[in-house]
Symmetry: C2
Subunit: 99 residues, 2 copies
């Protein structure tokens, strides 16, 4: 098996890295606007957040919802597929707190 | 909270990356010799494996066991602390297989 074929590596290729775990944990408790996400994740720039959200959308982990209002109102939410990762992420979170 | 303070990031700083998830999964079912580890992880060089094992030892995730035999016999095993991460890693593994 090559590195990428190891299931854990496939999961971490999608949800690992510096920003995605935080994005995941921030979106876990419900849809958020762009600025809410930016405020919740210290040090993330507008460009990096934009790129990460686009990539997570491409990977089927995040959904971009546009609301039909006078002013453009967009929110981001985790997809159902992303929520199936929640037990593992909660496990990592709990472990990270204890270690 | 800075990036490093996010619990998930702390966990992934220890067990994330290209080689460590595979090292973890390979050691999960019991102690292994160096060559066994090298054979089980495609593409890992002797030097990278040596460095990763040293770092995991430093982090308290792996234990190096020397056997008192005529010929030097060394094995590596996960520590008890490392095994507490098993549910989360199994969750990532299962998710990686399904996605």
């Amino acid at each position: 098996m090559t590195t990428e074929q190891f299931p854990v590596n496939r999961a971490l290729a999608i949800i690992g890295g510096k920003w995605r775990p935080q994005l995941y944990c921030t979106l876990e408790d419900g849809p958020k606007r762009f600025l809410e996400l930016q405020r919740a994740i210290p040090g993330i720039s507008r460009k990096v957040l934009t790129d990460q959200l686009k990539e997570l959308e491409r990977l089927g982990m995040v959904e971009r919802i546009e609301f039909d209002e006078a002013v453009l109102h967009v929110e981001y939410r985790l997809t159902d597929a992303a929520y199936t990762l929640q037990p593992a992420m909660k496990g990592l979170c709990a472990w990270g707190e204890g270690n």
